[in-house]
């Protein structure tokens, strides 16, 4: 098991109620999609934040990645809605 820093932004952050947390990654969680699925089991606030998993964007160590990306070597994983800057 390895320590992973999770970050949430915008309405993902609001729904979960925290902007970041550290977790011990369960052994059966290999990809970003696995992590999303596992987070949804942690309570109704996570369930609500990730209810439409397909709109959630993800980054590993501050680089955009698709959901199927392996977590091996990751230190920080971020979850957020589509960007609306500019």
């Amino acid at each position: 098991m390895s320590e992973l820093n999770l970050r949430y932004f915008a309405w993902v952050r609001e729904r979960i109620g925290t902007s970041q947390e550290s977790i011990e990654l369960p052994g059966n969680v290999a990809t970003v999609a696995d992590l999303l699925g596992w987070l949804k089991t942690r309570g109704p606030e996570y369930e609500h934040a990730f209810e439409q998993a397909d709109v959630i964007r993800t980054a590993i160590d501050q680089t955009h990645v698709p959901h199927e990306t392996p977590l091996a070597g990751a230190r920080e994983v971020a979850f957020f809605p589509p960007m609306t800057g500019g």
Partner: protein, 153 residues
């Protein structure tokens, strides 16, 4: 090498243009884009811009490096603000300089199109009537705007 800044403070376009053009008499064209906070028909009190510190700078720098690889540009600056921004105030600035106008226009447009869809910023509206603001929804038009830059298109 592009200049990229993510900051709460306002910026000054004229200062950034001067920085890019000073001592560069090979520059024939400078394009600036300034994105401002609209008042949405008088209903908006402010926009609140949340961002992912570190990744915001890194992602804009990646897009800027792509623009520099693609067009013969002599200078490129991108500044994006975060925090609370009132209607009429500036949100984002892009400055692109080149010998000729086509490269400057295209690099500035390219940077804005990809900045909008890739840089980790999110806008929340604060309404004048005090109701809880909504998060601005991403627009399909912004994704569509990036498609035209595909080289294999």
């Amino acid at each position: 090498m592009a200049t990229v800044r993510v900051q709460a403070e306002p910026f000054d376009a004229a200062t950034e243009v001067r920085e890019i053009t000073r001592g560069r008499p090979d520059i024939g064209a400078v394009v600036t884009f300034t994105g401002l906070c609209r008042d949405e028909g008088g209903t908006l009190a402010a926009l609140e811009l949340e961002h992912y510190p570190g990744m915001a700078e890194a992602e804009i720098a990646r897009v800027a490096a792509e623009a520099e690889a693609r067009w013969p540009i002599t200078g490129l600056t991108a500044i994006h603000r975060f925090g609370k921004i009132a209607p009429g105030d500036d949100i984002v600035l892009v400055v692109a300089a080149s010998a000729h106008r086509a490269a400057a226009f295209e690099a500035a447009e390219f940077l804005m199109d990809f900045l909008k869809t890739r840089a980790p910023f999110w806008k929340k509206e604060h309404r004048l009537d005090g109701t809880a603001g909504d998060w601005v929804e991403a627009k399909d038009a912004d994704d569509a705007a990036t498609v035209r830059w595909r080289k294999d298109g």
